[in-house]
Symmetry: C2
Subunit: 499 residues, 2 copies
């Protein structure tokens, strides 16, 4: 190993220790920290974040990255280390181009804007948030201009959350999807509604926790390199090599919520857990593609978890842990987990209407960054698009444009990745059935770990070595298309709703 590489790895190790401390502090803040300690913990997060930023923008670091980019060094590196050098040098150079004063002001304004969004949502009043949103939009444009002066801002933002993806592709596949989803939703809407009253019971949260454990183990989450805790909102986080955790939230009146959160976060976690150990301490293990990540969580949650056959092998075991399920007919449960209807809130939407929620946000983001629509006009645009896509109109801003936090902290370009994930899922499903046979049969036979194994071999173990487009090409041998997802929807819901 070259001396430069050795120095670089020692430097990276220091950076990783700070990142580990920050991740653990955040985890603790979300899952355990008592209220009187929040200030001290945030102060520690601030300290370690500053140290980490200082280290990753230091001249010493840049000089190591540049030395390792020179062919005589670079060509000797493993592919994962090459990715690390490429990605980190790119980020280093981008940061070098941002004036420090601007960066500080941007970070501060985003924090202010988050607070304003909270207050606006609470008051259901967009005007409280508007001036901050306006400023975050213009500063985000400036931020991108500093980093990549020649790139279209929105194109850059989309690529930030989904490496290698572009708006031309998204335009094409979202249009395909929209064209298919609207008539499908009309058919579902016209069908008779299922009777789900058997689910109106109380379900012990402690028992729900045990069901979660059962589900996580069943789909292949490993407790040797993972753990579970409770938090306000479910999430997945990697604390350090060998430690990928999920959280959940348990509602006594809605066990389906925690069950599907368990499967969803479990999907994210299994992806991270399955990354090849050889990639630890390289950029390959830091999966920075949100669409690819979401494709794993959504595959487990929707394609597998909402398939009736997923439950056949474990429904009885689950009923032992949550005895209320003994009074819920299997068919009613299947109807409940596949209940499709237009609704206001994205995070509560079913898998079919979810896509329309995302298309709405994608179209508005393009309107913001490409058509320069005025911030004050956004609520009306939101409501108009809700009517067009879902046939409903929010009663107020809280259940309309203020529902998501993403725009308050400048995460423009993030939304499309949720739907990209589902679109990739349609394609994986085709490939899996070609390789392993009929999905229903696999699930019916309780062989779900065969699928986890397939995902591991084809996708998980590579981490972020390949971007999503490359993954799709490698795994499915074809271009990204929304048709497989639409076919899956058609086939499934024509059965569920008998049309």
């Amino acid at each position: 190993m070259s001396q430069t590489l050795e120095q670089f790895q020692a430097y990276q190790t220091r950076l990783e220790q700070y990142d580990q401390a920050i991740a653990l502090l955040y985890w603790d803040l979300q899952t355990a920290a008592p209220k009187d300690s929040i200030e001290a913990k945030l102060s520690a997060v601030g300290y370690f974040s500053t140290e980490s930023f200082r280290l990753s923008t230091a001249d010493e670091y840049g000089s190591l990255l540049k030395k390792l980019s020179a062919p005589e060094e670079y060509d000797q590196l493993s592919p994962a280390m090459q990715l690390t050098i490429r990605r980190n040098l790119r980020d280093f150079e981008r940061f070098q181009r941002i004036p420090e004063a601007f960066y500080t002001e941007y970070v501060t304004e985003k924090a202010r804007s988050e607070k304003a969004w909270e207050a606006a949502k609470e008051a259901s009043d967009f005007s409280v948030f508007a001036p901050h949103l306006d400023k975050v939009i213009s500063m985000t444009k400036e931020y991108v201009h500093y980093m990549e002066p020649d790139q279209d801002v929105y194109e850059f933002l989309v690529g930030l959350f989904e490496d290698g993806m572009d708006t031309e592709t998204i335009d094409r596949i979202f249009a395909e999807l929209k064209e298919g989803l609207l008539p499908l939703l009309a058919k579902i809407e016209a069908a008779p509604k299922p009777d789900l009253s058997a689910l109106q019971q109380t379900f012990d949260p402690d028992a729900q926790k045990k069901v979660q454990e059962l589900l996580l183990s069943y789909i292949g989450f490993s407790f040797d390199c993972g753990a579970v805790a409770e938090s306000m909102h479910p999430f997945t986080t990697t604390l350090c090599p060998g430690d990928v955790r999920v959280t959940n939230h348990y509602y006594a009146d809605n066990p389906i919520s925690s069950m599907f959160s368990a499967i969803h976060e479990g999907g994210h976690a299994i992806f991270e857990q399955n990354v090849d150990k050889d990639f630890w301490h390289t950029a390959a293990a830091q999966i920075n593609m949100m669409g690819l990540h979401e494709s794993q969580s959504r595959f487990y949650e929707n394609i597998l978890g909402r398939n009736p056959h997923f439950w056949t092998p474990i429904y009885e075991k689950m009923s032992e842990l949550l005895p209320e399920f003994k009074t819920i007919p299997f068919d009613t449960f299947v109807k409940a987990i596949n209940d499709v209807h237009p609704s206001m809130i994205r995070t509560e939407a079913d898998e079919v209407t979810y896509g329309l929620h995302i298309i709405l946000r994608y179209e508005i983001e393009k309107a913001i960054f490409r058509d320069n629509v005025k911030t004050d006009d956004l609520p009306a645009l939101w409501n108009q698009k809700m009517q067009e896509l879902l046939g409903i109109t929010p009663a107020n801003d809280a259940e309309g444009i203020l529902q998501d936090m993403h725009w308050s902290d400048g995460s423009f370009g993030y939304f499309p990745s949720y739907l990209l994930g589902s679109i990739y899922d349609g394609m994986y499903l085709e490939a899996i059935q070609k390789d392993l046979g009929d999905l229903d049969t696999i699930l019916e036979n309780g062989r779900i770990l065969d699928i986890t194994h397939w995902l591991k071999e084809k996708i998980h173990r590579f981490g972020s070595m390949y971007n999503s487009k490359e993954v799709i090409q490698r795994v499915c041998g074809k271009e990204i298309s929304a048709q497989p997802l639409l076919r899956y929807f058609e086939e499934k819901y024509s059965k569920v709703y008998e049309f």
Copy 2:
């Protein structure tokens, strides 16, 4: 505020961030970390410990401490900041006197010795541990000689764990206690044994957790600045200002274990939680007196928790959470929590024989450091003293001299503090009854928070502003004596065992 003080406080804040990260990593290792992450977490602990050590031994730090010790600065400081400067300068200067090579070797040898102790205990073979113990003893002597060349080694070690305490005082009060305990134990031994078979049931660990929550809240533990988790062995830790946590371990066949661990660790935690906020970020909030600390946990556990009247107001509530208790007569429960009999293992001993376990260790530590007894002769000495003090002889080294880890990592001088804690408790009890009236009545009336309030006002809020001798003098107005504890034992056990 002087510029030097400002610099010092900024420096301290950095140190505190490292300490917080280390504490949180340890917490996580004990309570949640999956096995595959242990290496990465220990590596982070190592990194932050090294950084913290580097900062606290840096010339810059020493120079700030010295500047603030000069009268023109020192006289302007708050008493808590004066304590901080005194204590940290003392430690800084002690460390300055240790050759770096020796220190590294000492730390390494202690780690080796810990491993050897584990193996020896597993094999129940003292000879595996003996050479390491021998080396740790001689290196500990050397270590103390470097730091305080003029002090008696054992005197120094005792003071390290209980600031201001000395072996002359301990000799006196331990002798008093021994003189009283031996005849008391003989009387208890002669009395008929209680029938505790009603406790042979299975108790749901989840329900035990709920009982723990009840007990912690009942005695005054605050969940606003505290939290709870499960670990192999119960412990208390302060992660940062406003965050004092306790752990517990739940045995399905022994609910009394987790109940009394909850009360014991709760006592430690309440002490830390009640330290005046003005002392945060000073040495006053870092309570370095183990005897004083133990006096709080043992007061809650023994003086309060083993008093039958403690349970009267909550026995029914507890039986609702742990329904098995409905079949256990209150009187049987009281007998079970006050079951006194000689046993081999210190950590499982009752409050009466516990003292004899400590006296044994104290006498052996003096034999090691004052009489230079050969390491190879220690097991025989141990067994002989067990026979003298408790009338029983270990069947092997594992249940004899190898049972505690303290000597393996050089924590000589720690043991006496456990018993000092109980001796202080006897004195607090007298003072409380003088101030608040009869303890049984207070407990019977469910007014236990009056006692927590008294302890807070008299002891907790000062943290380590006063050493134990000063605390006893301030609170009880007299010299330390073992007589109050002996009177408490006599009075209580003559009732329990009817002699």
